[in-house]
């Protein structure tokens, strides 16, 4: 998929300062430049720092995959770019679309950009379509919002769009309601709406998460078609490292509201330089590998973004953690061509492709009581610091309850 030269060329030809988003050089080629974006949500318990400084530049025609676990801030980042966050959110930093600052624009000014220049595809196709309007109306609405055309022309365009995303009998389907469409079909309608105005940027937020795999394949194909048709750059947000591998040119890995690694897809997958990325790849069961090797989970759970302690947020789960990690949060630094990682000890991961060497495979259960009751007598309750062999490494992390 990424072998399409039209798509990869822009990403590959840039031999300059890479994605050093802070550099002014080469800004003109970036359709979307996000710089030091932060989003805070004040809550009664304190300030939740959902996004803590995200910078990336999206080049024209490329697909940037943003991956991370739930709560890593990947969706909030995109909602901030689209100006869709609630008023209570405090957004700072800069989002520039073709050089034009979007942060601070009024809703009216944003309306001219949203849907026209930057389109968004949401995760849940069940809720992103209005159930009381026909599909054709909703498609035409998107066309009419930004173009001065007749209703008939808008309708014609709607049929075209449905055809592009692979919906059979578009002339007939256009007069149906969302409930008459299956999940995959609805998501294709949403994609059609997103591409209605030939946007320069499409932000797809978990576009296939709610769908079955065979339907996911259909939708990814429709997304690809949409991107080729509009020549748009795309931000693909997902937690599925498989989807990113096949679709993205570059990958941004997020953890606790911050990018921890960014680089070309191959460089990230075959040479991760941040322990979290490595751990994430190691924890995935693989469809293509026969080995019955154990998976390597990352111990513990992601931190709460409320009153985050100083230092690297991955420290409590990190096998490389040293004292410095608890006090100084590492910056994203160049580790390979166009590849930057935020870890004090990135160098130790160079040529360290096996996650199992670094992360314990855990639950080495040599002492699992065969008879729970019987074995109990000989087994003292472990103290908080002491780890029972069963669930070993997981234990240590997960014990730290609020």
């Amino acid at each position: 998929m990424t072998s399409d030269s039209a798509l990869t060329t822009p990403a590959r030809t840039d031999s300059g300062p890479g994605d050093a988003g802070f550099d002014e050089t080469g800004f003109d080629e970036a359709v979307l430049a996000v710089e030091d974006l932060t989003v805070d949500f004040p809550t009664p318990d304190g300030v939740v720092q959902a996004v803590r400084g995200v910078s990336y530049r999206l080049r024209s025609g490329e697909v940037l995959g943003i991956v991370g676990e739930s709560g890593s801030g990947k969706s909030v980042t995109s909602l901030a770019v689209m100006g869709l966050l609630p008023r209570t959110a405090r957004v700072s930093g800069s989002v520039r679309f073709r050089g034009r600052e979007l942060i601070g624009l009024s809703d009216n000014q944003m309306n001219a950009v949203r849907g026209k220049k930057i389109a968004m595809i949401f995760q849940d196709p069940m809720t992103s379509l209005n159930p009381v309007y026909k599909i054709g109306y909703q498609l035409a609405e998107a066309v009419l919002a930004h173009n001065d055309v007749s209703r008939e022309a808008a309708r014609k365009r709607a049929v075209e769009l449905l055809e592009l995303v692979g919906i059979p009998f578009p002339e007939k389907r256009i007069d149906q309601y969302p409930h008459e469409f299956s999940g995959g079909m609805r998501q294709r309608v949403v994609i059609a709406i997103a591409m209605a105005n030939d946007p320069d940027v499409i932000i797809a937020d978990e576009p296939t998460t709610a769908l079955d795999v065979t339907v996911q394949a259909q939708v990814l194909e429709a997304l690809r078609a949409a991107q080729l048709e509009t020549h748009a750059a795309m931000v693909l947000i997902t937690h599925d490292l498989g989807v990113v591998a096949g679709q993205a040119d570059r990958v941004l890995v997020m953890y606790a509201g911050k990018p921890v690694e960014i680089g070309p897809v191959d460089s990230i997958y075959y040479g991760p330089q941040m322990p979290y990325t490595l751990g994430l790849l190691g924890s995935l069961p693989r469809l293509d590998v026969r080995s019955q090797e154990r998976l390597t989970p990352i111990q513990g759970a992601p931190p709460s973004l409320l009153n985050l302690p100083p230092g690297c947020p991955f420290t409590p789960r990190c096998p490389l953690a040293r004292p410095i990690c608890q006090t100084v949060e590492p910056e994203l630094l160049q580790v390979a061509p166009e590849h930057r990682a935020a870890c004090h000890f990135s160098a130790e991961l160079r040529g360290h492709p096996d996650p199992a060497e670094l992360f314990a495979t855990t639950t080495a259960d040599t002492q699992l009581p065969a008879e729970f009751g019987a074995a109990a007598s000989t087994d003292a309750v472990p103290g908080p610091g002491e780890v029972h062999t069963v669930g070993g490494a997981i234990d240590t992390g997960e014990e730290e309850l609020p």
């Binding site: 998929m1 059979p168 498989g242 693989r286 699992l368 109990a376 669930g391």
Partner: protein, 351 residues
């Protein structure tokens, strides 16, 4: 499905299955709206499936939403009585058991549910949650608290946290609590209904490892229901693939993934993205057309024919067989212990 339903594929001959399902059918009525709710149709959720589960093995039951895999898991435990067919647990038919017998049977066969947020009672402590099965089955005595503490340690939780409530735990920890509860009665079979699909990958791996260890140590048999084929490939010994209420293919795991015979299995495997950019770029995807037909009105003959890429390549005469004749789930002579329900089954490597 063959009516006699001989033991499907025994990984080793001479072993008796601990759980045998024969011609299991589960239908749900569709009723008309209003006060007089007449039956106007039937959803054929599970339409005559048979499989065996052997002691100590993991049978993966995979398929997409609506294929009937969860209904199967419920019917096996008689949580939803089957419409027809038999479920034999250690040779006794679960579907004909009295209430008392059922309760005794369930001591040996427990279930872990998909959603760790909905399957734990939020109003009682974790200690009480894990103790509940022991109390219900009259196995609670002075050693009860100790058993509960042991169970918590077994699943990788700190027993000191037993007096906390479910909301104080993360998703992965809650799923561990659900597993501890299921293990409390020391069952022989665990039905795992999508046990890791609600968890983030880094957490999911720990739960999968835990399940593998428990199986090794306690000799449990797992009926592992999932839609994630990567997870199933990792954990299962054999895999049964379901489509629209039917099992379309059963084979040992490696055989199924490397030499799938049924066009649906092939499409399913090829649709799963692999976290490896180079491989992913080289792969050919089989993109299925259309959507799964309604289980209220399944197609005649082979249920997959409406979306089958193979069906499109057949001659008029050959394709009539798919329309008129339901393909039986039998060995097609293309692999040992491998059965497929396709008239024109053919090995195709898709990874």
């Amino acid at each position: 499905m063959t009516a006699a339903a001989p033991a499907l594929v025994a990984p080793e001959t001479g072993r008796h299955p601990i759980l045998s399902v024969r011609d299991l059918v589960k239908e749900f009525p569709i009723t008309s709206p209003g006060i007089i709710r007449r039956r106007v149709g039937t959803v054929h959720a599970v339409s005559g499936i048979s499989f065996d589960l052997f002691p100590g093995e993991t049978l993966g039951l995979v398929g997409e939403s609506g294929c009937g895999k969860t209904t199967t898991s419920r019917a096996v435990l008689h949580l939803q009585p089957a419409t027809s067919g038999q479920v034999f647990f250690e040779g006794r038919d679960v579907t004909k058991m009295s209430k008392n017998d059922l309760r005794r049977m369930r001591r040996n066969m427990q279930i872990v549910f998909q959603d760790p947020y909905a399957s734990l009672n939020p109003r009682i402590t974790v200690n009480e949650i894990i103790a509940e099965p022991l109390k219900i089955h009259g196995m609670w005595d002075d050693s009860g608290p100790k058993k509960v503490a042991d169970l918590m340690r077994t699943v990788g939780l700190n027993p000191e946290h037993g007096n906390r409530f479910p909301h104080e735990f993360s998703g992965g920890q809650r799923q561990r609590i659900g597993i501890a509860r299921a293990l409390a009665l020391r069952p022989k079979v665990l039905v795992l209904d999508e046990p890791v699909s609600a968890l983030d990958v880094s957490i999911q791996a720990g739960v999968i490892n835990l399940l593998e260890d428990l199986q090794d140590e306690l000799g449990l048999a797992y009926l592992f229901v999932a839609h994630d084929l990567s997870v199933v490939r990792h954990i299962a010994d054999r895999v049964a693939v379901m489509y629209l209420g039917k099992i379309v293919e059963v084979a040992p795991t490696t055989e199924l993934f490397e030499r799938p015979q049924h066009p649906y299995t092939q499409a399913l495997i090829s649709a799963i993205p692999i976290p490896d950019p180079r491989k992913e770029r080289e792969r050919e995807r089989i993109i299925l057309q259309g959507d799964v037909p309604s289980p209220a009105n399944p197609p005649s003959g082979c249920r997959f024919r409406t979306r089958c890429p193979k069906f499109l390549t057949l001659s008029e005469v050959d394709s009539q067989k798919c329309v008129n004749e339901e393909p039986p789930l039998v060995n097609r002579g293309q692999g040992p212990q491998h059965v497929a329900a396709c008239h024109y089954a053919e090995v195709l490597s898709v990874i």
